[in-house]
Symmetry: C2
Subunit: 550 residues, 2 copies
């Protein structure tokens, strides 16, 4: 804040400056399209009015079970209408929603539940066996509410307080939700770094409402046009992971039809995409790859044309975007991270690019994109000096926006690494072009320093992914006496019975050297063909593990 | 605020919670469409990048002239690119933009400039004669900056400090704008009520940013679809009046092409609508009527089909909407008031209505519409009890939203009439239907109490407006010994040489009695045919003056 003194005036005693609270998003959706539906697999569907009633019933249920404002409530569930109800009911009573990352190890889950100081748990029956051995070590948890697909007896050592549907049905469908400070924490979850314990990231009501408005403005803009009231939305990013990029909140604001697929089985995903006529999804490249590789899709037995997919988490490669396009699937990139709620940039194509042919659009669609409204982005050199927007100058990406996590939960030191000089440091390196489009070239720690130059592992991955016979690739730097580091690649063949050789890949890379796109030392000296590449719990290449395996 | 205690956590010392400031809207527009244009009549046009440079130059100019944060700066100009630059530069340096209502009487203008404590004035040459006799009574004004259409000498007693374009051109095009509290006042203007002095209404940076996001979300929604990056926008609501409904801020956020028409001459408006291919405007019914009645339009020499017009300020009648539709013009309603920034509701047509024929859509388009995101609306009875959403129960409309003026400027008592029980009381009466659509039936003070029933003067105006030969109508209540009040009407004929008679109008009204739409006592007993109906400075029916003239 500067030292200038603008005019600030006191309000009338009775005036309400309407704090930004999550409940307003729900009310907007009901007004926009009370008859649009929330769908859960092929098991249940109800309209927005009923969705609101269920949120009110869930709030009564939790209150009756002793959950108070300020309490942290853990949820372990697949992506479902129930989870969406938790997205609203828990913060709306002033409690904190802890979306537990069910893909972590039991030890890590125990760590996050202890660290978050959870006092109440909603648990899907599939995760009961996971929690049973942990319960003794979580003495502060006052109750476990069971979520079931259909009512049946469960034998468990967990001290259950009842079943979700049964308890909801006993409650009135109107709850007089309180009004409170918009800076109250609404959500909390844990992100896994490459070192140390998972880090808690939290967001306030204000932040989530503003993120939703920024996302809504972006998703409706020409050149993007992903989501509105008349579209059908299905996430393929888990709801425990940055609230599925906040899109369930945005879809609710708009009153869009929402489809929740439960756990991510390719057959069910494809079935729902077709039967519910899904218009829009978002996911990491790995999951998009899984869907387009599903038998029914690859063989064109089902038609996914018109489906729009926003890809983030890792770079969308031109190879994957082209493959999707050949099936009529419209992909584009977004950029952000757990700490940023997550949306920082999205591909809003300039008017002339949006009218051009796909080959012209392709490189634009694979860039991270344009900062969304209210986001400030810089790429800075090692001294923190902003670099020009010339599309060439590469530096660390840092951000300001009204929806960035203000700290890691109870982690003073790590918070001060994240926030420096009033900017959130993303740990990514990239460049911004004259149009304002961001391109991410790498994680700072994954950049390969060779012969005094910086090589982007992501760029090399993008080139290698275009080599015939290559389905997936990961590039890391390995120590080299002469060059400092040299690139090495793990390659998964598309046909295991006929894999490309290291020499095939190296020969393929020659064209990029000739084009001047990379230097000769950008051709990996070591290329290993493998069945599978290690991934993190959210589907990203796990370069920490890859380094130990090369 | 309730007494619950949600969890509020301190941020990392270096974290920036990005206050909501108007400058962010400008940055968004430049990124979205740096090459789209800002157009002023047929005189000047420049792109968003140059627009930003000019905002920075204006900030330098004002700072060099001694304008500080917290100072109130008055602007008297026609709708122009300069005014748009003032919308940004003045608040962005922490000063307060006072948009002077140039249609007020000189005494009222003097009152508002004294009351606002203006210290600096930007004045278009056309308004120099207006200010000259006032300047002696405004001793605190430190300087007058002249705005001219083209550089020429002006002889005036005003102590001019220079000319807008000349001073801007001397300044650098980058200003390091400060960051400050989002609750700083950004804008101030005066609204004329029916009694007493004009009332000052003010809005903060936070409020204007949130209003912009709410408006953007609404204007891009299906069933509304008024404005986006690829559309051309031209206001026909003066920029001094509630910042032209805040739409210049919204258009800037989106990067839309903006056209400013100067003063509202029908020929110039029509010329710009055609030459600039304007997609979207907003205005009061009187101005829409003026445009569709312009010779070139009415005679179909020019084609305005595809033009979308949002109508507010007074009710859009079915007659005017139908007349516009016959020319291919798409009209719909919005509702709000100076005190509400202004947007509270807008016609977002439900999906099935949007697909229906025009006759089905017509009544929907004439309703006030659906509350926009983050707005809470109630209609309440005389005891403040919310009435059901049945489309029938009529009561006073009250609102909560994060963009309502928090007080009248330096008017404690009047502020407490506006804000009661935590709600802003609009002074309008209306009903909300099962879809959530608001219909305004009248101003509380204009409701006609007759024979124990309430008659809506607006509803009667709507019916009478459909009578052949009637161009405009105003209905008021006049005292009646037997009935308490009886309705009376002033009627402007569409053809002055062949006006309808009072009996013609009364006979026409019989059909609505037969349909059960109104009771027999809804037929005005007194109907006067007049050349003109008194209007307020913003073009609304001036019922206070009408009462004195009937």
């Amino acid at each position: 804040m500067s030292t200038i003194t603008p005019k600030i005036l006191p309000p009338t005693p009775s005036a309400t400056n309407s704090p930004l609270l999550i409940g307003d998003l729900l009310e907007s959706g009901v007004r926009m399209a009370g008859r649009n539906q929330i769908v859960y697999r092929d098991q249940c569907r109800h309209d927005y009015r009923h969705f609101r009633e269920r949120v009110h019933q869930l709030a009564h249920t939790l209150t009756a079970l002793g959950v108070n404002a300020g309490d942290v409530v853990a949820v372990l569930d697949w992506d479902s209408h129930r989870y969406l109800e938790c997205f609203f009911a828990i913060p709306m009573i002033g409690a904190v929603l802890h979306t537990v990352n069910v893909r972590l190890s039991p030890e890590q889950i125990l760590y996050t539940m202890e660290h978050a100081e959870d006092v109440f748990v909603l648990v899907h029956e599939d995760f009961v066996p996971l929690l049973e051995p942990l319960a003794d070590k979580l003495p502060n948890i006052r109750g476990y509410l069971l979520c079931q697909e259909e009512a049946k007896d469960v034998s468990t050592s967990l001290p259950l307080v009842g079943e979700f549907e049964a308890l909801l049905s006993e409650q009135p469908d109107y709850y007089n939700f309180p009004t409170f400070d918009e800076n109250a924490v609404a959500t909390l979850f844990y992100t896994t770094g490459t070192t140390g314990n998972p880090k808690g990231v939290f967001f306030t009501h204000r932040q989530l409402v503003l993120h939703t408005l920024g996302e809504a403005s972006t998703f409706q803009a020409p050149g993007c046009e992903l989501l509105n009231r008349d579209k059908v939305y299905m996430p393929i990013t888990p709801m425990f992971h940055v609230h599925a990029w906040g899109v369930p909140y945005t879809a609710t604001l708009m009153g869009a039809t929402q489809v929740y697929p439960g756990r991510y089985e390719p057959e069910m995903l494809v079935k729902l995409l077709v039967s519910e006529k899904v218009d829009f999804s978002h996911c990491v490249p790995t999951l998009l790859n899984m869907v387009v590789s599903a038998d029914a899709v690859a063989s064109k037995q089902v038609d996914l044309s018109g489906w729009k997919v926003l890809v983030g988490g890792s770079a969308l490669t031109q190879a994957l975007a082209s493959r999707a396009w050949s099936l009529g699937i419209d992909t584009r990139s977004a950029y952000g991270m757990s700490e940023t709620c997550p949306l920082l940039t999205a591909d809003i194509l300039p008017r002339d690019v949006g009218k051009a042919d796909f080959d012209t659009q392709l490189p634009w669609r694979c860039k991270a994109g344009l900062p969304v409204p209210l986001v400030k982005l810089q790429v800075v050199d090692v001294d923190g000096k902003p670099l020009p927007h010339d599309g060439k100058s590469v530096g660390e990406v840092r951000a300001q926006a009204p929806w960035l996590t203000q700290a890691y939960y109870k982690e003073e030191q790590r918070s001060e690494e994240l926030w420096r000089d009033g900017w959130l440091h993303t740990g990514d390196v990239g460049s911004i072009d004259e149009h304002g489009f961001l391109t991410i070239s790498d994680r700072i720690k994954d950049v390969i320093k060779t012969g005094g130059e910086w090589l982007s592992s992501l760029e090399l991955e993008s080139y290698i992914s275009q080599c015939p016979g290559v389905a997936e690739v990961a590039v890391i730097g390995i120590a080299d006496d002469k060059w400092g580091e040299r690139p090495a690649a793990l390659v998964v063949p598309s046909d295991l019975s006929n894999p490309p050789t290291a020499e095939d890949v190296q020969a393929f890379m020659e064209q990029f050297v000739k084009q001047g796109a990379i230097n000769r030392w950008g051709i990996p000296s070591l290329i290993r063909v493998v069945d599978e590449i290690p991934k993190t719990s959210v589907g990203k290449l796990d370069k920490k593990r890859i380094r130990t395996e090369v």
